[in-house]
């Protein structure tokens, strides 16, 4: 015979049924949701071009850079890391690797002809060095200085201008080559320089060199894997004219003397493995090596915590492809 204590109470029964009912409802909802699974929930919308962020409150208002004779043609656009490629496509990794924070974009069209327009790209990076890197590694050969601005940090072409200040890099692209476009982008540059509020414009690593005989506008900063050598990061390069010869110098702050010497030794081995011929050591300046690298004279040295490299002779191609700097 079942004791009273073995019988399930009424309340207990109701609670139990309710819990079971709840579990069944949950199971049905899960089935419904899984059954209606759509890739678009995971960001594979069939049409997913140009996701535009709303204008952030703290970002610059690019309409204040409006050049004379132009009108704002559309709303300001902003892009973060995950949708940067929607605006600049395959160039996005270059910026992300250099410490990209946000892109602000504004279009302006000429008041008397909306086929004539300027596009202003303002890249906010996490550091001055990051901004300088994306500016310098994309610098166009054949560009000219912008009057009144330091050529190491600015240049213009026939249809645009590029400028770096603090942790901001600005690129202005014009739809044509014309006086109107030129006046427009120069006006933008002036306004940007006046209005952008940055703390400090220094780029660490540029104060260690003598810019006296430097070829104007040749300084570049490679953030990672310079020369295809993974251990070298944040490498600066610049061209000098030394007794009528062109010399390219590279330098990097290794943060300690020991690290600099270790890096230099490994880099010498790296070049030798790639076919360079070691011509011997150099006394003084922390020691170093001279190598013959397929007709180029290579000098690898250390000076305190700095790694340095100099290259003389031959025809080099500039750029960075496959991690190796060649020119």
């Amino acid at each position: 015979m079942v004791s009273e204590k073995d019988r399930v109470g009424f309340t207990e029964r109701i609670v139990g049924v309710f819990i079971l009912f709840l579990l069944v409802v949950i199971a049905v909802l899960i089935c419904i949701r899984q059954g209606n699974y759509g890739l678009e929930r995971f960001g594979t919308d069939p049409v997913a071009a140009g996701v535009i962020e709303s204008v952030s409150a703290e970002g610059p208002d690019l309409t204040t850079y409006l050049p004379a004779g132009f009108a704002v043609s559309a709303s300001q656009e902003e892009y973060l890391e995950d949708n940067l490629s929607d605006k600049i496509n395959g160039k996005a990794p270059l910026y992300i690797e250099a410490g990209f924070r946000r892109l602000y974009y504004q279009g302006y069209s000429a008041e008397d002809d909306d086929e004539v327009w300027l596009g202003l790209y303002l890249f906010e990076m996490t550091s001055n060095e990051g901004a300088f890197s994306v500016f310098s590694t994309q610098r166009r050969s054949g560009s000219v200085e912008i009057e009144g601005f330091d050529e190491a940090f600015s240049y213009r072409t026939e249809n645009g201008a590029n400028f770096v200040k603090g942790n901001f890099y600005i690129e202005i692209i014009g739809s044509e080559v014309s006086k109107k476009i030129q006046e427009g982008f120069l006006d933008c540059v002036d306004k940007f320089d006046d209005q952008i509020d940055v703390e400090g414009t220094e780029v660490a690593g540029l104060d260690v060199i003598d810019r006296g005989d430097l070829e104007a506008g040749s300084i570049k900063l490679y953030i990672k894997s310079a020369f295809g050598f993974g251990e070298l990061k944040n490498v600066y390069s610049a061209k000098y004219k030394v007794r009528q010869e062109k010399v390219t110098v590279f330098w990097s702050d290794c943060e300690s003397q020991d690290k600099a010497k270790e890096t230099a030794a490994k880099f010498v081995d790296f070049l030798v493995e790639d076919g360079a011929k070691d011509q011997g050591g150099i006394d003084g300046l922390g020691g170093g090596h001279i190598l013959d690298y397929y007709g180029l004279t290579e000098v690898v040295i250390t000076a305190g915590e700095f790694f340095g490299r100099g290259t003389r002779g031959g025809n080099q191609r500039s750029g960075s492809r496959g991690g190796y700097i060649y020119e």
């Binding site: 209606n36 919308d45 049409v47 994309q138 072409t157 249809n159 645009g160 739809s175 044509e176």
Partner: protein, 329 residues
């Protein structure tokens, strides 16, 4: 009754219930393990996978690749197509032709980031006048806003004035596809609708540097058919580019090396990024076209891994001499 038997009963009841609970949890765990799958969720069950038709024409010896050096694009493209047998070889009377130019960016033609609008218009006109096409569609799924891209590049206006119908992407124009044997194009949305009833497909693209892949030429042009968050493929750029010409086999392609973007690709932005090479390439073999195009960028085939990947997959050949190209300087 004494308290002791009641306590025993409760303990026994507790043990029974605990055992049943543990058994239920265990059964749920076993069921979950059996039902678990590592594969990502598939497309909606209601979506049928599609695949592009093969739009290629029978190969003809000596009429696979043509290269014409001419500062005038229009003269150049006419000559290049003529050397492959003329548009009549490719387009038949009554055909529906889809032209897929590179319209990726909202930039003017002079910056070389998109196909040249006059070139696109000329090919449209050839399809009608000499090919006898019934309908010519011009379509692309750009990176930036489609309407802006077609407008600012000039391609929309040029194509329309030449008599083509410009088709911009819309959500219901996309279907899901899987490339057989593909690593990346698996259950992926593609811009399919304009191609569904096409008889012939022609690609038109400029020769450009590309920050990620090294170059953007005739094979990369088909990236514009991918939908969704296609930028994830940038991590595996050479594989995705090599899969594109396997996904769709066009009738022929035109590679415009008149004003080549030598640096800062794929968007460029300055006239200083460009260099005149005054070359038009037409080809039924996309690997051969890109192999030749690499030289215009002062690169070698070995600098562009996607080309050899595509060759290994059977898309075409990097041995240009073997296909007896017609080169007119």
């Amino acid at each position: 009754m004494s308290a002791e038997p009641d306590k025993k009963l409760e303990r026994r009841e507790f043990m029974i219930r605990a055992t049943k609970t543990a058994a239920a949890i265990g059964a749920a765990g076993v069921a979950a393990k059996l039902l678990y799958t590592k594969e990502s969720p598939s497309a909606k069950l209601s979506e049928k996978l599609v695949s592009f038709n093969d739009f290629s024409v029978p190969s003809k010896e000596g009429q696979v690749l043509s290269v014409v050096k001419n500062a005038d694009r229009i003269e150049g493209v006419n000559k290049a197509i003529e050397l492959l047998g003329g548009i009549e070889r490719f387009v038949s009377k009554g055909d529906t032709v889809v032209i897929k130019p590179n319209v990726a960016f909202a930039t003017p033609a002079m910056l070389g980031a998109t196909a040249n609008p006059e070139l696109v218009a000329e090919v449209v006109r050839l399809c009608y006048s000499r090919g006898g096409a019934k309908k010519v569609i011009v379509a692309d799924n750009p990176i930036n806003d489609p309407a802006s891209c077609f407008r600012l590049s000039g391609i929309g206006k040029a194509a329309t004035e030449a008599g083509a119908k410009v088709v911009l992407p819309k959500a219901d124009y996309f279907k899901y596809t899987t490339l057989e044997g593909g690593e990346l194009i698996v259950d992926w949305p593609v811009f399919y609708a304009p191609f569904e009833k096409a008889d012939k497909v022609i690609g038109i693209s400029p020769v450009k540097d590309h920050q990620r892949s090294g170059a953007s030429m005739s094979m990369k042009n088909w990236y514009g058919l991918l939908g969704g968050r296609r930028n994830i493929f940038h991590q595996n750029i050479h594989t995705i580019i090599s899969e594109l010409p396997q996904m769709i086999k066009p009738t022929f392609v035109i590679l415009d090396g008149t004003n080549v973007m030598m640096t800062n690709g794929p968007t460029g932005g300055s006239v200083l990024d460009l260099k005149r090479k005054d070359t038009i390439i037409a080809s039924t073999d996309l690997v051969a076209a890109d192999s030749y195009g690499a030289g215009l960028l002062d690169m070698k085939v070995s600098d562009l891994p996607y080309i050899t990947k595509a060759e290994k997959a059977g898309v075409g050949t990097t041995n240009i001499d073997s296909i007896k190209p017609k080169i007119v300087t």
